[in-house]
């Protein structure tokens, strides 16, 4: 009885880990913010956001919510589903950010190939402003009311428990400028015995100073907790995940010294284990 219970809990571990990773949001995430994290994606949202395909195939669905810096006019809601067959991985999702006069709706698609020791993928997101003034110049031109971006990501398990990755979410863009400039990000993580440590570095376009992040995640049974720090300016965040069977629910908060807290919530079913 006890052994069976342990096996069931062990089976949930990848789900919990996926949630942890999902909540430790990327520095420059936007439309599908809660679904990805440094390293290979573990959720459909993460795959769309970064272009890093998940290691494991299997159906997954996740929904996320974020309130940026405590601003009610800046909220993101996203849903995505993903699937895999043999080496192929695919995910699609929809999100909406901001109040009508500010925000936009986005549809995302990602596809790629992955094994347990590496993978590569492409991601594309199309956006449309939620509010275009009728009769305005923007309303008359598609490129003035909609935009798109295409990027890629790749990862590699360089040694046991050590993964390295690079992602360029905006290799190409057209139409309305994306809400956030997302440069090249490189990173690495080391995982052993339920402990995950990671480092990231993103180099902004235009030669600006790079951003850095570092995090640690710990899991024990159906609970997992994590913490991260980032620079420019120095800030940190914490999160907590609870899971049962293939369902997980999570909450996280990141505190910015000037702008306040960004809160993320996530609910998921399935997902890929690393």
């Amino acid at each position: 009885m006890r052994a069976a219970r342990i096996r069931r809990l062990a089976a949930l571990a990848p789900v919990a880990l996926a949630a942890v990773i999902a909540l430790a949001a990327r520095a420059a995430a936007q439309d599908f913010t809660s679904a990805t994290l440094p390293g290979p994606a573990s959720s459909a949202n993460g795959f769309i956001e970064s272009g890093l395909p998940p290691r494991h195939a299997g159906p997954a669905f996740d929904a996320s919510y974020a309130r940026w810096f405590g601003l009610p006019e800046l909220e993101t809601r996203a849903v995505a589903c993903g699937a895999g067959w043999r080496l192929a991985r695919v995910a699609a999702g929809f999100s909406q950010t901001g109040e009508p006069d500010l925000g936009w709706s986005a549809a995302g698609l990602a596809c790629g190939v992955a094994r347990t020791d590496g993978g590569a993928g492409l991601r594309a997101v199309a956006r449309r402003d939620r509010s275009i003034e009728p009769g305005s110049a923007a309303a008359a031109r598609l490129d003035a009311r909609a935009g798109a971006e295409v990027g890629w990501g790749a990862w590699l398990e360089a040694a046991r428990g050590l993964r390295l990755w690079a992602t360029v979410p905006q290799s190409w863009s057209a139409g309305v400028a994306p809400p956030l400039d997302r440069p090249l990000e490189i990173g690495g993580e080391f995982e052993r015995d339920g402990l995950i440590l990671w480092l990231t570095r993103s180099a902004p376009s235009g030669g600006a100073e790079a951003d850095h992040g570092a995090g640690v995640a710990l899991r024990s049974g159906s609970l997992a907790a994590w913490a991260l720090v980032r620079d420019r300016p120095l800030r940190g965040g914490v999160g907590l995940v609870a899971s049962a069977r293939r369902l997980f629910v999570a909450a996280a908060v990141e505190s910015h010294p000037e702008l306040g807290e960004t809160v993320r919530l996530a609910l998921g079913l399935g997902g890929a284990a690393r």
Binding site: F69, E73, T97, G98, D101, A138, V176, A177, H256, L259
Partner: protein, 561 residues
């Protein structure tokens, strides 16, 4: 033979070259104070206003026997070129100076009447005067920055201001040159240049600080006293008496003893606090010294104002950007109609522009505009009431940037008699280009309407629902946005920053600036790339206090780069 300060006269040669002037004997010698001759003791060459009839030259005989003036030639020198001497008067056989006495040659208006009435037509410096004696001796008195050596002895004396004379002090001074022997003095024809007892209020030394105090608030009346007599004045011997005089009567201010002992030539400063009722006042300062021999220099006065004047400034456009020229808006706060032509407008300099071109008197509480270019202003604001738009000429050009004083310039309104009406020292710091300053909320602030509101009061502000409001929330790349604020303090320091969604600060459109409780300021978004940003507006009270911080969202739309 010479008593001192001797130089050889080059005039003979110069005259020979230049011609036109009376001849000087080839054997002539110059002296600053020729021995055995009457001395030139005092000269008035520049009266206030028209000099005609006021000019005089005084000879003094320091010896104990009479000296003749027969044959002496008094000549005026034009310092603008060499050899330009013109005969003004020649002494007759009957003219002489008694022992220790004086002999005045001058115009018909000189009091007491001179011994010889002559129109001297002396030059107003840098020029000279000389007495050429029959024995060849020449005494030269030069004044001002002269170029040719024939016009002075030793060194030229100072060039005095109109109304003052150039006096040898003491009357027989012989220190080796005009500069040492002569100085500016109150004219004293026929009298000693240095009295035995003479205490004077230094002309022009009176000052009132602050220049325009609030009614009932103490201000400082300061000035300087000089002992011009030949004897010392003991401490407490003289009294200083101040009176404020207005149309309704006079008010004694203070009377106190001069506490310092003054040796001959000493000066001492005085400062007295005093408070005035509202209005325009003549402040009269007088010295009372028993036995003072020159009462003419014992008093001075100053015209001052306590409290606000009848006309006040309400808006200042010192850096126009639309070709309308500089302008200021004024308001009649007197309760009675005002004739704007009876006021002047100036800056920190001395130029005083006089209004013209408007029509009629300015009614109480009404606004008017004084413009550098009236036509240009009316083109820029065609709806203005032309009767209340005046030009002021000459226009005192207003500076656009601060100097080391922390101010850019001053705008000064005065009444026709020179009484200060209002002075505004303005700062250009933090004022966006082209935006006038307007008076509101107890201070001078960038105008609520960036184009200015000539002949209109400042734009009324609608209270905000929040402390800050950034509008619009969505603007096109390169556009401008406005930050409005409504704060619980009378003055605050405000700043605005932009952060991207990753939490990185990307711009600081408004560096910290001082602002009134309510206001707004536009800022260009040209340097910010398209995207979605978080605005962070901050304010703190002027002085100490907690910050108010508010965040908002801003979308800058544009094409992907």
């Amino acid at each position: 033979m010479l008593r001192g300060g001797v130089s050889l006269l080059a005039a003979a040669a110069a005259l020979a070259a230049g011609g036109g002037g009376p001849a000087v004997p080839a054997t002539a010698a110059a002296a600053c104070a020729p021995a055995q001759h009457p001395l030139i003791a005092e000269v008035l060459y520049d009266a206030v206003g028209d000099d005609t009839g006021w000019e005089f030259v005084e000879f003094h005989n320091p010896f104990d026997r009479a000296l003749p003036l027969a044959g002496v030639r008094l000549e005026a020198g034009d310092g603008s070129g060499p050899g330009r001497w013109t005969l003004r008067w020649t002494g007759n056989a009957v003219d002489s100076v008694p022992a220790g006495g004086r002999f005045v040659v001058g115009g018909a208006k000189v009091q007491p009447a001179p011994r010889v009435v002559v129109t001297l037509e002396l030059q107003n410096g840098p020029d000279a005067l000389r007495a050429v004696w029959p024995d060849g001796m020449v005494e030269v008195v030069g004044y001002g920055a002269l170029e040719f050596a024939e016009y002075w002895c030793g060194a030229p004396a100072v060039d005095v201001t109109p109304g003052q004379s150039l006096a040898r002090v003491p009357d027989d001074a012989d220190l080796g040159g005009n500069a040492a022997d002569f100085r500016a003095a109150t004219p004293s024809p026929g009298r000693a240049n240095r009295a035995q007892r003479d205490l004077a209020v230094l002309a022009g030394s009176l000052a009132f600080t602050p220049e325009q105090p609030d009614p009932g608030v103490a201000a400082i009346l300061a000035g300087r006293i000089e002992n011009r007599g030949a004897t010392a004045v003991a401490a407490g011997e003289a009294m200083l008496v101040a009176t404020a005089v207005a149309a309704a009567g006079s008010v004694p201010l203070f009377a106190r003893a001069v506490g310092a002992a003054l040796a001959p030539g000493d000066t001492v400063a005085f400062e007295e606090p005093l408070a005035l009722e509202a209005g325009k006042w003549w402040l009269r300062m007088a010295l009372a010294l028993p036995g003072d021999e020159s009462p003419a220099n014992d008093a001075d006065s100053l015209l001052v104002r306590s409290g606000p004047g009848p006309l006040e400034l309400t808006e200042i456009q010192f850096h126009p950007a639309a070709g309308e020229g500089e302008w200021v808006e004024v308001r009649n706060r007197s309760g009675a109609p005002l004739d704007l032509a009876a006021f002047t407008l100036s800056d920190r300099g001395t130029t005083r522009g006089v209004p013209a071109g408007g029509e009629g008197a300015l009614e109480p509480e009404s606004l008017a505009v004084l413009a550098q270019d009236r036509a240009a202003l009316l083109r820029a604001f065609p709806a203005l009431d032309v009767r209340r738009v005046w030009s002021a000429a000459p226009w005192p050009s207003l500076n656009n940037s601060n100097d080391s004083t922390g101010f850019a310039d001053a705008v000064v309104l005065r009444e026709a008699d020179g009484t200060l009406c209002q002075r505004v020292n303005y700062s250009a710091a933090g004022d966006p280009a082209g935006v006038p300053l307007e008076w509101r909320a107890g201070g001078w602030w960038p105008a609520s309407d960036p184009a200015g509101t000539p002949l209109r009061p400042p734009r009324a502000r609608v209270p905000l629902a929040r402390r800050f409001e950034c509008a619009p929330r969505r603007l096109h790349e390169g556009g401008t946005a406005t930050l409005a604020w409504d704060l619980p303090w009378s003055r605050a320091h405000i700043s605005l920053e932009l952060y991207d969604l990753a939490g990185r600060r990307v711009a600081r459109p408004l560096d910290e600036f001082l602002a009134p409780a309510r206001g707004e300021r536009t800022w260009p978004a040209g340097a910010v790339a398209p995207g979605l940003y978080v605005t962070l507006a901050r304010a703190r009270p002027d002085g100490s206090g907690d910050w108010i911080v508010e965040r908002g969202a801003l979308r800058i739309e544009g094409s992907a780069r």
